[in-house]
Assembly symmetry: C2
Homo-oligomer: 215 residues x 2
DNA sequence: ATAATAGTGTCTGTCAGACATTATGCG
DNA sequence: CGCATAATGTCTGACAGACACTATTAT
């Protein structure tokens, strides 16, 4: 019988911050060796028979200190099998995504801009870099991902910010509006959000109808 | 310490058969319990520290009896984590793809049309069904996959057959030609293949230039 | 009014879908 | 020639990119 591999789960936890106008990545300093004290993606060893979904929750609540209820959606990304990625020995890493709409209350938790991720432990910078195009691809395509990130209601301006954070460039409002018109379960309302303190026309509100996550 | 999960690797091994004019899936009867004698995807338990690429090769050579050299390309698909998918206990299954251009010589090996896959052991029918859209998406996008399946040189007629097998409908030749014109590393030659026994105009030959797998 | 922000109309080029037409080889 | 197969020209509609212009709010 072949000795079995260790499987860890590393989570790309994302949150949209309307004030920073950007999508942020949740990272926290490691509590133990190796890389103790260095920032890392939240990750746990997958338990025997544990679902990936449950391991994702366990990593995000345990390592980032977010409440389980604040996780709005999760999903798979890719698997990393470089044998030397963990100095303790070969481990497989399954990269997953999770979304939340709340900042959490853990003092050690750091939210980093996706375009300015700090140095992370293990091969986590590589994981983030490799997965970023996969995440960009999910926006406006994977409804659970999009609704998990933006919440049930959001404005056109926020949609522009999220798109820019994930894809790297900012679409024209008219074009993004047409893209969103074609997203199933997303409807353009006639409501305007409350105006900003700086003045300017208040943006329109968009709303997910059916299978959307709560804000 | 949490008891670690078992990880198996299940391979969707594909071959294009120019005579059958279809993409075929390699399956073989299981040698041991559970499901002994039933057809299944080639799969192995992932060894500690083993690369996914190596496990794929091991599964395809060991279970299907293909020569290692005849594997033209491999890659990842998705992970299946249903705990009850194996009656022996919870195992994670990482689904991978592999391509070959040769039929192999193992008497137990069965090549099944992708649109007529027989009943398979475990949740393998579900794996095939879930991964089929992922495979269709790779055609003409993932050059390694496409070249692995079609070989270094192929005709327009074969390209039509492969596309029909994977996506479910047959494109118009003119449209597929334009799609292939935009594939990097793939060039339209002016050579015609030898005519068919049934007569008819001989099809044009297309050729992969750089990073393509040998036929 | 002016600044700041947001939304809309419309032109462009690209590209997939769909045929009809033309081309090439065999008997 | 007629049959079988393959390739090509071209029309259409969908859609992304790009801008100019209009709309709404605060000061």
């Amino acid at each position: 019988m072949i000795e079995s591999t260790l499987v860890s789960v590393d989570v790309i936890a994302l949150r949209f911050d309307p004030d920073a106008r950007a999508v942020l990545l949740g990272v926290a300093p490691r509590a133990h060796e190796p890389f103790a004290g260095e920032l890392a993606l939240p990750g746990v060893l997958l338990g025997r028979g544990e679902r990936l979904r449950d391991a994702t929750t366990r990593a995000v609540t345990g390592k980032l200190g977010l409440a389980e209820k604040s996780i709005t959606a999760t999903g798979q990304l890719a698997t990393f099998d470089e044998p030397s990625r963990d100095p303790r020995g070969p481990t497989l890493s399954i990269a997953l995504w999770a979304t939340t709409t709340r900042p959490g209350e853990n003092g050690h938790l750091t939210w980093a801009r996706l375009d300015d991720v700090p140095a992370l432990a293990f091969d986590h910078n590589r994981i983030v870099a490799d997965c970023r195009p996969l995440l960009a691809d999910k926006l406006w395509r994977d409804v659970r991902f999009t609704a998990g990130l933006l919440g049930r209601e959001f404005t056109t301006a926020q949609a522009l910010d999220v798109t820019e954070s994930l894809t790297g460039d900012r679409p024209y409002p008219a074009n993004l509006g047409r893209t969103m018109d074609r997203v199933p379960g997303l409807e353009r309302t006639t409501q305007h959000a409350s105006a900003l303190p700086k003045g300017g026309r208040p943006p329109l509100v968009w709303r997910f109808t059916a299978g959307a996550a709560p804000a």
